[in-house]
């Protein structure tokens, strides 16, 4: 105590301390009492799979079909969920009607469930609900447990406790995989060709009865098809025979049949069925995508099952195929030609599958298998079109995954995959409808498609959207066939397969042509009249005809921008804003970014007006004639959009292509920057190597991915662009050199006190050739290459032109150097910036779109050299991010004054040097805005604004998400000048999520309970069983059950 008092200040008063302490203690107590701690106890642990069963109060051994549950009036039948617990080797029981988890043994603390002999895996229930079967695995404990529905509730009074001896079970020779319940219509007790079986045992204890022979559902004997992955086969067991085992026994299972899954795999190259929009136009020059033969060496390993009718589809964990079994007679081995998983983007990869789903046959007579490509990164979904396969039964090419149309405009999707940002864990199909009564007959019919034709009548018109989108076709209306993908991240994505309302989810305008797609992605419409009736649209009026696409994620919102719906179609937040890193540039001297009209896709040569939404307001470029004619959209309903840069009052602008909504991420803030960065952020892992005395060096950075990642274009690569822009061959070399990308060193020097300057080579940086001359050379470096106080205005001496670009290295030369100075500058650079200083790569004499998908078509070609690839890879057809500016030849040349080198000592003697002339022979030119010397043209058109078909039209920039022209200003563009804008209304995929319930989830399996219209998700981490209502796409309370 004495010691502590000596540590305290002398002014300290112990009484005050006591009073303070009492107050603090009281405050603490008070705060404790106001902070109740809620502890969520978890009954379930490591849940994995679920099966649903209908249980009746009659406890009938015949069970009840799921569609008999629940019975609401007297609550005599409840729907139960059986959820496997892999951590405790149990099966949990959830009463969905009573909304509670059942404690099977109330005599022990905590929750007890149905105990099984080892780690439970697959669980299935017979069609009539009389029994469920659980596969269990563990060394020496592999087998199947049979859970009669009569015994899955807590034991009644006088009944024995539920434990391992409650269940009939049998031992398998290896761990079981997936299980399916098949129905043998012949009702044989055993298969005709079955091996000799033990005589049927007779249960001594018949407390838990299950009579599958009398259960409801399809007529026939219940058989269990069980995968044995380690033995590379399937076996068939009689379900009733298993149930008849003495409870508590664990005798050997007696398969009646065994299927080896040894179907022949076509050991020949296959060709994917490629849609037209992916077929190269220059087919002679491009290698045709094909899947090489994949000799099968691995034995088959059955994975997940998908059962539909008399077909079972079996995933294979090791072979690149999906087995197709005809189980109309479950006892016989009828393996049909398999489905053939392959990868369009990586044809050499051996694609194997984990889980599957097969859709019901839709009203449109379509049926699909979804298979998870387990090694894709991330794991994705392949689609197999069963109808297409049926049409071409002998052609294995049609048994490969469907390659979708529209790939060139969906940069984030592989053309033959449904892929998300996390792996797909499970898939399922749902087909549902809520028919509206026919106004005439009063009857509702399943599967009626929405009819948009204003002149039509009939039940299909009942599904047209109403004016406020609260009824009829809309995103939340899941009417039709849909896929669901459970992602490891906790999302459940909705995939459009056959939306009955698709015809009514589109723009009002139509396009009857079958030869071209209009600006909204529409074609082949049955009528030319707009979908309007009595001034009201009969369709949603969305921005694109591609808002719904088969096997693509469903949109969560209507693609419309209006005050009523909000901004959900691609729209600008405001007109683009200009900025410059230097001193302010007067508007009249600024470069301008302008929208321009569209060429009519019908090929007529006519123009369609540029139009764009700024928030909810439509802006349209209308000519005088169009305004006079008052044809939509130039009928006064829209604001006028100016596109002539010479008019000062006109704002900078652009248009947003509307063909494919999926091109757009949700909200973006793109930029257009002169000599913008191609590498973001700066890299610090590049080393500059050079041979002494050489004028060229190499920037080596093995992980930079200069081709596929940054899209670097050296002088050779960019020359292709020059040709397309019309640069004469004689000028092409100079033009390419002026436009090749360059490296800009953005890093600092070693610190002042670094030994590099005192004992390292840094002491000689000012003159590397004079190694023995001691100098303080950091200052010399700063003098030559400047500091990094202002990153937007670095010295030009830090720039290195790229002569050759490879995947991991760049051959460079100091930019704009001449002769021996190149070698000197290179040596100085290497000396001043040792050991991988920061750098970036910039485009030269051109504008770069950034802040959005930095898409380009550069790839790694022969010897790793960066080359254009879009010619043969049409997925990149619309990838672009470089814009070349259009100059006005009527403006005077750009010049500057400098001292005449002939008079070095005469400071007053200057000469005028021309920097730029708007002519095709100027190496810095992009496009010339007019052709005043065009033969036969007496009064040439000014050429500005540039419109499709004009001489400068190759410089009209268009990619997936923007279309504009950049006009060079009277004042030259400088590095860092830019335009920036914001877009909203991008594609938002429809999804349900577990994350609002818990941030740490590990979803395991997905299922559909059609009787209740619920989608079920089992989570191993915190949530247990979660149910989603497909009407609201929300969680069904009180789930989750954990």
């Amino acid at each position: 105590m004495k010691l502590f008092s000596r540590l305290l200040p002398s002014s300290f008063d112990p009484l005050k301390l006591a009073a303070l302490g009492i107050c603090a203690w009281a405050a603490l107590l008070g705060s404790c009492s106001q902070t109740p701690i809620t502890v969520n106890l978890h009954a379930m642990q490591s849940s994995e799979n679920v099966s649903f069963v209908c249980h009746g109060i009659d406890n009938s051994p015949k069970g009840h079909k799921l569609d008999e549950c629940p019975e609401y009036e007297s609550a005599t039948r409840h729907t139960l969920a059986l959820v496997t617990q892999t951590a405790t080797n149990e099966v949990a029981v959830v009463d969905l009607y009573a909304q509670s988890i059942l404690d099977i043994d109330r005599t022990t603390p905590g929750y007890s469930f149905l105990r099984v002999g080892a780690k439970p895996g697959a669980i299935v229930t017979t069609p009539g609900g009389a029994a469920s079967f659980v596969g269990v695995s563990g060394l020496g404990k592999n087998g199947i447990f049979a859970l009669p529905t009569t015994c899955i509730l807590p034991p009644g009074e006088g009944e024995p406790a539920r434990d391992l001896t409650t269940w009939a079970a049998c031992h398998l020779s290896s761990a079981p995989g997936d299980i399916a319940v098949l129905v043998d219509p012949s009702e044989r007790e055993t298969c005709l060709n079955a091996p000799p079986l033990r005589p049927p045992s007779h249960r001594v204890d018949d407390a838990c009865k299950a009579d599958l022979t009398a259960e409801a559902g399809p007529t026939g004997r219940r058989k269990l098809l069980v995968a044995l992955p380690n033995e590379h086969k399937l076996v068939l067991l009689d379900a009733q025979r298993l149930l008849d085992q003495q409870p508590g026994s664990f005798g050997e299972c007696e398969p009646e049949a065994s299927f080896a899954l040894d179907v022949d795999v076509p050991n020949i190259p296959l060709a994917p069925v490629i849609p037209d929009d992916l077929k190269p136009k220059e087919s002679d020059m491009c290698a045709v995508t094909s899947y090489p033969a994949q000799p099968v060496s691995e034995p088959p390993t059955p994975g997940g099952f998908a059962l539909m009718g008399d077909r079972v589809y079996v995933a294979d964990l090791t072979r690149p195929l999906v087995h197709v079994l005809d189980v109309s007679d479950p006892c016989t081995d009828k393996e049909l030609p398999p489905l053939l998983p392959r990868s369009y983007t990586m044809p050499d990869r051996v694609v194997t599958t984990s889980r599957l789903a097969v859709s019901p046959l839709s009203p449109g007579h379509k049926q699909f298998v979804y298979a998870i490509d387990q090694d894709d990164q991330p794991a994705s979904v392949m689609v197999f079109d069963l109808a297409r396969i049926a049409e071409h039964p002998g052609d294995p090419d049609f048994r490969t995954p469907v390659v979708f149309e529209g790939g060139p405009r969906q940069p984030n999707m592989a053309p033959d995959r449904v892929r998300f940002n996390a792996s797909v864990k499970d898939v399922s199909f749902v087909m549902r409808d809520f028919p509206k009564p026919d106004p005439i007959t009063g009857a509702g019919e399943f599967g009626i498609s929405c009819e948009p034709d204003p002149n039509a009548s009939g039940p299909g018109t009942e599904y047209q959207p109403n004016s406020d989108y609260t009824d009829g076709a809309r995103p939340v209306n899941l009417r039709g066939l849909f896929g669901f993908a459970l992602l490891t991240s906790g999302q459940i994505a909705v995939i459009d397969v056959e939306d009955f309302d698709q015809a009514c989810r589109r723009p009002v305008t139509t396009n009857q042509s079958s030869s071209f797609v209009d600006l909204h992605g529409c074609w082949k419409d049955p009528t030319s009249a707009p979908y309007i009736l009595n001034g009201q649209p009969t369709v949603t009026g969305e921005s694109s005809c591609n808002i719904i696409e088969t096997h693509r994620p469903r949109s969560a919102s209507l693609s419309i921008s209006s005050s009523a719906t909000g901004i959900h179609a691609p729209s600008l937040r405001a007109f683009p804003q200009f900025s410059t890193p230097g001193s302010t540039v007067p508007l009249q001297k600024q470069p301008r970014m302008m929208a321009t009209d569209f060429a009519n896709p019908d090929g007529s040569g006519a123009l369609l007006p540029a139009e764009v939404n700024i928030n909810t307001q439509l802006y349209v470029h209308c000519t005088e004639d169009q305004l006079t004619a008052r044809q939509p959209p130039c009928d006064g309903s829209a604001q006028l959009l100016g596109i002539d840069p010479k008019q000062d009052v006109v704002q900078n602008s652009l248009t947003l292509p509307l063909i494919e909504p999926r091109s757009y991420a949700q909200d973006e803030a793109p930029t257009l920057v002169f000599e913008g960065r191609l590498l973001t952020p700066d890299r610090t892992s590049g080393f500059l190597h050079f041979e002494e005395g050489a004028s060229e060096g190499v920037v080596s950075d093995p992980d930079a991915n200069f081709c596929g990642g940054a899209g670097v274009e050296d002088s050779d690569t960019i020359a292709e662009r020059g040709t397309k822009l019309g640069i004469p061959a004689a000028n092409l070399k100079a033009w390419s050199d002026a436009h090749a990308d360059y490296v800009q060193i953005t890093g600092d020097y070693p610190a002042d006190d670094s030994p590099y300057w005192s004992v390292g080579k840094g002491q000689y940086c000012a003159d590397p050739t004079r190694a023995n001359k001691p100098e303080v050379n950091r200052d010399a470096c700063i003098s030559k290459f400047g500091g990094i106080d202002n990153l937007s205005n670095l010295y030009a001496t830090r720039n290195l032109s790229i002569l050759q670009a490879y995947a991991g290295q760049l051959t460079v030369q100091p930019r704009n150097c001449q002769g021996a100075a190149c070698a000197d500058t290179l040596a100085e650079l290497a000396c001043c910036f040792p050991s991988g200083t920061a750098y970036t790569v910039r485009a030269s004499n051109q504008w770069v779109v950034g802040g959005t998908n930095g898409l380009h078509d550069i790839g790694s070609g022969a010897n790793g050299r960066c080359v254009h690839t879009a010619t043969c890879d049409l997925r990149k057809e619309h990838f672009e991010r470089r814009a070349f500016e259009i100059c006005d030849p009527l403006l005077p040349p750009e010049t500057h004054q400098e001292q005449d080198p002939a008079y070095p000592d005469d400071l007053t003697k200057t000469i005028t040097v021309t920097d730029f002339t708007c002519a095709v022979n100027d190496p810095n030119v992009g496009c010339v805005g007019a052709s005043p010397d065009r033969p036969g043209t007496q009064n040439p058109r000014p050429g500005i604004p540039v419109l499709p078909g004009y001489p400068a039209s190759p410089c009209i920039f268009e990619n997936l998400t923007s279309r504009f022209v950049v006009y060079r200003g009277p004042q030259p563009s400088i590095l860092g000048m830019g335009f920036n804008w914001q877009t909203s209304g991008g594609f938002l995929p429809q999804a349900m999520s577990l994350l609002p319930l818990s941030s740490t989830v590990s979803p395991q399996s997905l299922g559909y309970l059609p009787e209740l219209g619920y989608l079920s998700v089992v989570d191993a981490s915190t949530l247990g069983l979660v149910l989603f209502d497909l009407n609201s796409l929300g969680v069904v309370p009180p789930s989750p059950y954990y």
């Binding site: 951590a87 990164q377 864990k425 892992s685 596929g708 004992v759 190694a771 991991g808 010897n863």
Partner: protein
């Protein structure tokens, strides 16, 4: 001095006292004391089990600062094998234990038929004449005795612990081979074979938090050499064998940041990278194999997210021109949902003969990064492991070639040819705590990269675990098969991924071929370090909390004991605060 100043001075003194450089009680070097690292010696081979490693190295951490230092100790695994019961299904499995050995399994002649007796499935002596050293049907744990059932809750394993200094059976010699003192708070240990022609067989690298250094210890036949005999330093490594604490060691005057945690070593052993928890940095050491030089700190990469806690060296790959790709490491973080690729880059610029090469020969740079989208949260990644059997086979072939006396350049050329033929991407496994999961993936294939890979992983699955995953370790288990033979019959070796869950006392065994969690090992408190001895079908598990070594059976031919703790080395000791 004013009282408040005194208080401040006392606080500073107390803070500094957390890492006493030389004061305090001398540690019992041979004792297991909060073990944090285990490593097997791949150079010295067993005299009994063909191809098996002979020595196990264990790093203690002195976590509760009871002592002024910690230690590294080595065990003779041939002797350890003698005290670990041999698993069996039938008597024929017990041939290695002598003619009298029978299997303690139901129905075996000589085994008591008492229905209440629980068989061990261990090989025992059929004579059933209990004597010191013998395991008999009546005493299947022999002189070690059986554990009390109540103790099994905290320390699983039927048999009582084995004293590594003086095994209780009286017949087995001292398991401990050697010991040496190191600084407090060692976090791990890694072993690497030395190149041909080196003065020693191999070298251990131990990051030590207490004095923020990298200890390095040369090893020959389980015996340590780190200057411990160079004066009065408690048999501890001398200052030469502590790297990173002397700025004058390198021209950049670098000093190892505080809290070094995880480390890994490049395939050739030339570079050691260590993550530093609190500063968001990774240190690079340039390892010189000469025994009077050792690893020197050559670069510190900053600007990383805080708490880098997992690191794994990339396997060697070759570029199209036949040269080796620069060495690299993957790093995972507790605070960021991302994996970073760090490259060791070398300044190859032609010299003028002036000190540039001495300045910065090698630099660690962040060469790439990839977000973890696979999980709902994704951050709080812990251990990371890279598995590439094909490339490892090329390295093994090279090692055989080099050790056979062949021309090294020829061996390197053969290795390059071997590596060029590898097209499969390396597998990557990450233990994550948010949620508790094992991320399964592979390096991303990309034809735009010179060697066909981004060397950044993409994940294709997330497997649910119980809470507290910490480390990921690769290893082999024995499964019934035909390719190999031992006294219990034929077997195959199969690859497994072991995920240690510190908090929930579990080790998950993931089968990458069948893509499932194959088994869960229930452990004692604080499972932390694991070394898998596939050739013996065993794994050694360092229990951090109770300071002992568990031995796990990894032989699937004996399902009753597979993935269970079958022996314990050292007496379990609860930490002082939990007694």
């Amino acid at each position: 001095m004013r009282p408040l100043s005194r208080l401040a001075a006392l606080s500073v003194l107390l803070l500094n006292a957390c890492y006493p450089p030389g004061d305090g009680k001398a540690p019992p070097l041979e004792e297991l004391y909060f073990p944090t690292g285990l490593a097997l010696d791949g150079y010295s081979k067993s005299e009994i089990d063909q191809g098996a490693p002979r020595y196990l190295y264990l790093a203690n951490s002195d976590f509760d600062l009871q002592y002024r230092a910690a230690s590294v100790i080595s065990y003779d695994l041939d002797l350890v094998r003698k005290v670990v019961p041999r698993s069996c299904n039938k008597t024929a499995d017990c041939m290695a234990d002598g003619a009298n050995a029978i299997c303690d399994a139901p129905g075996v002649a000589g085994i008591p038929t008492d229905p209440n007796r629980v068989p061990t499935y261990y090989c025992v002596d059929s004579s059933d004449s209990p004597s010191r050293g013998a395991r008999t049907p009546s005493e299947p744990c022999g002189a070690f005795g059986e554990r009390d059932e109540a103790d099994l809750v905290l320390t699983p394993g039927r048999c009582n612990w084995v004293d590594p200094i003086d095994p209780q059976d009286g017949t087995t010699g001292k398991l401990l081979v050697h010991k040496v003192g190191i600084g407090a708070f060692a976090t791990d240990v890694i072993w690497r074979a030395a190149p041909t022609g080196s003065a020693h067989q191999s070298r251990l690298f131990v990051p030590v938090r207490g004095d923020s250094t990298l200890h390095w210890i040369d090893v020959d036949d389980g015996v340590f050499s780190c200057g411990q005999d160079n004066g009065d330093n408690d048999d501890g490594c001398d200052s030469l064998h502590r790297s990173g604490d002397v700025p004058s060691d390198n021209l950049d005057a670098l000093r190892q940041p505080a809290e070094p945690f995880a480390l890994d070593v490049s395939p050739d052993g030339d570079f050691v990278a260590i993550t530093n928890q609190t500063s968001g940095t990774v240190s690079l050491y340039d390892n010189d194999w000469r025994d009077d030089v050792g690893p020197k700190l050559s670069s510190i990469l900053g600007g990383l997210p805080l708490a880098p806690v997992g690191i794994a060296a990339l396997p060697r790959s070759v570029l199209p021109d036949g040269t080796d790709q620069d060495p690299g490491f993957l790093v995972s973080y507790r605070t960021a949902a991302q994996i970073d690729l760090l490259r060791v880059l070398t300044d190859k610029t032609t010299e003028n003969g002036v000190g540039r090469q001495d300045y910065t020969r090698h630099a660690l740079r962040r060469a790439g990064s990839i977000p973890i989208n696979e999980n709902s949260l994704g951050f709080d990644s812990r251990g990371i492991a890279i598995d590439d059997p094909a490339r490892a086979a090329c390295e093994a072939t090279f090692a055989d070639c080099a050790s056979s006396g062949s021309d090294v350049d020829t061996c390197k050329a053969e290795r390059a040819t071997c590596l060029r033929a590898v097209h499969e991407q390396s597998k990557v496994y990450v233990a994550s705590r948010a949620p508790a999961s094992l991320l399964v993936g592979a390096m991303t294939a990309d034809v735009n990269y010179p060697d066909g890979s981004t060397w950044l992983p993409s994940f294709s699955n997330s497997l649910a675990l119980t809470f507290g995953p910490s480390r990921v370790v690769m290893g082999d288990v024995k499964v019934p098969g035909t390719t190999q033979q031992d006294s219990a019959g034929s077997y195959d070796l199969e690859r497994r991924v072991f995920v240690i869950c510190f908090d929930s006392r579990r080790i998950f065994v993931y089968d990458p071929k069948r893509r499932l969690i194959e088994a869960i090992v229930s452990t004692g408190r604080g499972p932390h370090a694991l070394a898998v001895d596939g050739t013996r079908g065993l794994a050694y598990l360092g229990h951090f909390t109770d300071s002992y070594l568990g031995v796990i059976s990894l032989d699937q031919r004996f399902p009753q004991t597979y993935a269970t703790i079958v022996a314990s080395i050292g007496a379990p000791k609860a930490p002082r605060t939990s007694k």
